[in-house]
Amino acid sequence: MEIRFANRGSTLIASLNGELDHHFSEYARNKIERELIKATTRNVIFDLTGLSFMDSSGIGVLVGRYANIQKLGGRAAIICKNEKIRRILEISGILKLMPLYEELDQAVKALLIA
């Protein structure tokens, strides 16, 4: 599992690659948390396009980060095309907190407008 970070205006983009399960959840949590602390941006996009596998451990990681983003007055969105991962996101109810987009540009725009 690998996580890369980039900035687009006032938005931090965290791109997750590989497999996100319980084994990698602590790594993902720590890595994203460290980046959030030093980030000057408030909004975050979780780009899950590069994930080949995610189970409900990933939901725990995303919800936990969302709580911290929200505390700092930020908003979050998710990009995901993988049908299985989308189904997990849907049944977990997490999309009520963080809307889902297919493309990065759509998500960046949506966070800017709102």
């Binding site: 319980h22 084994h23 596998f53 189970d55 409900s56 451990s57 725990g60 299985k84 049944i91």
Partner: protein
């Protein structure tokens, strides 16, 4: 009903074995020529069950997890067993969003994901003795018939 093939695997309750277990189960299931989608369903459900055994069954302590896979003509049955603490209230544990470990950022969606990705999930557990989760899936079928139950 007799399975046409069967395998048993035992491994330590280490989180690095979550990926190992789901890959093995999917590789064994591939003998029935399932779709890529169906294999992905199996990987996800096995990952959830093994993660539960590690986090909840053994509470991250050392233990042995057993996985038995049985293949029938068009279906698979996967049993995942731990000899850990067991579940006091299975019905409660299977409720969506219920988690006994909210402090660990557990989503409480494990059983819900298993039920969503498989045709049927059954749980046997005794407090102090352990838990067996059995996952059932029929391939290439929309009528959701379950064999070997």
């Amino acid at each position: 009903m007799q399975p046409i093939n069967e395998m048993k695997l035992e491994f330590l309750s280490k989180s690095s074995n979550e990926a190992f277990a789901r890959v093995v189960a999917a590789a064994f299931a591939s003998q029935l020529d399932p779709t890529i989608e169906e294999l992905a369903d199996i990987r996800t459900a096995v990952s959830e069950a093994v993660t539960n055994a590690i986090i909840h069954g053994y509470e991250n302590k050392a233990g042995i997890i057993k996985m038995v896979c049985r293949l029938y003509e068009r279906s698979i049955e996967i049993e995942i067993t731990d000899e850990g603490k067991g579940i006091e209230d299975i019905e409660l544990a299977m409720q969506p969003l219920y988690t006994s470990k909210p402090d660990m950022e557990r989503s409480g969606m494990g059983f819900t994901v298993m039920e969503s990705f498989m045709d049927k999930v059954s749980v046997r557990s005794k407090p102090g003795e352990g838990t067996t989760v059995t996952l059932y899936k029929t391939f290439g079928d929309s009528d959701k018939a379950v064999t070997g139950n």
